[in-house]
């Protein structure tokens, strides 16, 4: 029974000491400790969040890079294609032009040749006429060397030139 009867002195001191202990520890220990713990947990959480965010950003950045790379590649391809096309076109144009020029030159040459030939032919015609007339004159002169033949011709001409 001795054990089960609380002593008044001990009750009193317990109440006083424990009460003071709670108050002092609450103000001077639990508050900074619990705040510190909370703060640390917060820090750890935010650090983890940041790491997660950074990882996501890195992934995004990588994706962006890849996209950019793909775009660059596509652009390069298109530029190359365009360059090739324009090169082809230039070559084709040049070829066409060259062909046309060649044709024109040939045409010109042909025309010049034709002109030359025509000039030569007309020259030759003139020459032939002159030569023929000379020959005819010489022949006629020889034929009409005597008087009878002249008279005969005149008479023939007169006969022919009768009034019709």
């Amino acid at each position: 029974m001795e054990l089960l009867t609380p002593a008044i002195g001990l009750l009193f001191w317990m109440l006083v000491v424990f009460g003071i202990l709670v108050v002092i520890l609450k103000v001077a220990a639990w508050k900074p400790i619990l705040n510190g713990l909370k703060e640390r947990e917060h820090q750890i959480q935010s650090a983890l969040d940041l790491a997660e965010k950074t990882r996501a950003e890195m992934a995004k950045l990588q994706a962006d890079n890849e996209k950019l790379l793909a775009e660059a590649r596509a652009e390069r391809d298109s530029i190359l294609k365009a360059a090739k096309e324009s090169g082809d076109r230039v070559i084709a144009e040049a070829k066409e032009k060259a062909q046309a020029e060649g044709k024109r030159i040939i045409e010109d040459a042909r025309e010049a040749i034709n002109n030359e030939r025509a000039a030569i032919v007309s020259q030759m015609k003139k020459e032939i006429v002159t030569i023929s007339l000379d020959i005819a004159e010489k022949v006629i002169r020889k034929e009409l060397a005597d008087k009878t033949s002249q008279e005969k011709l005149v008479s023939d001409l007169v006969k022919e030139a009768h009034l019709n």
Partner: protein
């Protein structure tokens, strides 16, 4: 870290049991010469409060006696214990000059017949062994936790160091595994009390295991105060659902109310009483078991000879070492249970009725 703690605990246990043996032996060897060894008396002497702090027989620190009897009187307890008329056998220590007598650690006025006047009402506020031990534990708690708090300021944004890293996991454990789930929303308000409660009980349980330590948490006055504080916190914070539930439990037929309401009301008081008894009984029982085991050595000695006493002691030391290790666990466990149950009582008193109703 856990390993280190385990090692420390075991070292402490070995130290405790060996030193208890060393401390007890001369004490009761002496007693044996005077009278027959009385194991019951020895145990009661060790688990009860005293007005001096005895480490071993003859090695005791006198403590101040403070009594209120028509005015405050303060004197040293050595006036009682070193009294020329001291009767050690019957534990009667008169202090004639002041007119008081210490009989079985109770202070009475000396009556006209020269004996203790059992009807005198002397209020004893002495710094007894238990009070001294409590003050020591309070100082220890302040030193430990103020240095931990300082560590938090010093190591801001850094990893904890020193004692901080030892105590911190325990604080987190109490917060996250005991208080938070039991109380629920608004648990922060009760956290300072719960942490103080836990560490106060734990450190005093451990101090009680030390050789010469006081059986503080195994004293009903201590557990009574703790239980009353918890009781008051519960009932000052309880919401109207809690009180309504007492007089009209939900889902109970009206015919059963006369039976159930008294049960509910008894339950209100049974909770703190169970808290009080549980801690008191567990710690006192632990002390009694260890003291009984150690007492067996002296029993053997008084029944046989000194050789018999020495012969049984290795086995007894082994058993008491085993018990000490168990008591280390109990020291933590009882502190944990007291805190957990206090939290749960608060939690059940402040929870919203919506949740409570689903249980019925």
């Amino acid at each position: 870290m856990f390993l280190r703690h385990k090692f420390l605990s075991i070292a402490l246990a070995i130290f405790a049991s060996v030193s208890v043996v060393l401390a007890e032996e001369p004490a009761h060897d002496h007693e044996h010469k005077e009278s027959k060894f009385n194991i019951g008396e020895m145990i009661m002497h060790h688990i009860s409060d005293a007005h001096e702090w005895e480490f071993a027989h003859g090695l005791a620190i006198p403590l101040p006696v403070i009594i209120y009897d028509n005015g405050l009187k303060v004197f040293s307890s050595s006036n009682f214990y070193h009294s020329p008329e001291a009767d050690h056998e019957h534990h009667i220590y008169p202090y004639k000059e002041a007119g008081y007598v210490l009989e079985h650690e109770h202070i009475y006025k000396i009556g006209a017949d020269g004996k203790a006047d059992k009807n005198s009402h002397v209020l004893d506020f002495s710094i007894t062994k238990n009070v001294a031990s409590m003050l020591l534990s309070a100082v220890l708690l302040l030193v430990i936790f103020l240095s931990v708090a300082k560590g938090f300021n010093k190591n801001k944004g850094k990893a904890p160091s020193g004692i901080q890293s030892f105590v911190e996991p325990i604080i987190i454990f109490i917060r996250d595994e005991v208080v938070k789930p039991s109380i629920g929303h608004g648990y922060e308000k009760y956290l300072p009390y719960m942490l103080t409660l836990f560490f106060f009980i734990w450190i005093n349980n451990l101090l009680g295991l030390l050789p010469g330590g006081a059986n503080l948490t195994g004293n009903i006055a201590i557990t009574l105060v703790l239980a009353i504080i918890t009781f008051l916190i519960v009932h000052f914070n309880a919401n109207k659902h809690y009180f309504l539930h007492l007089v009209k439990p939900t889902g109970v037929p009206a015919a059963l109310l006369p039976l159930l309401v008294p049960v509910e009301i008894v339950g209100v008081f049974m909770k703190p009483i169970s808290l009080m008894i549980r801690l008191f009984a567990n710690i006192t029982a632990g002390h009694i078991i260890i003291l009984s085991l150690l007492g067996l050595i002296f029993m053997a000695k008084s029944l046989g000879s000194a050789t018999t006493g020495w012969a049984v002691s290795p086995l007894i030391v082994f058993f008491s070492l085993f018990m000490n290790v168990i008591e280390l666990l109990v020291a933590f466990l009882q502190a944990f249970i007291f805190t957990l149950l206090s939290s749960m009582y608060i939690g059940s008193a402040i929870e919203d009725n919506h949740d409570a109703d689903h249980g019925h």
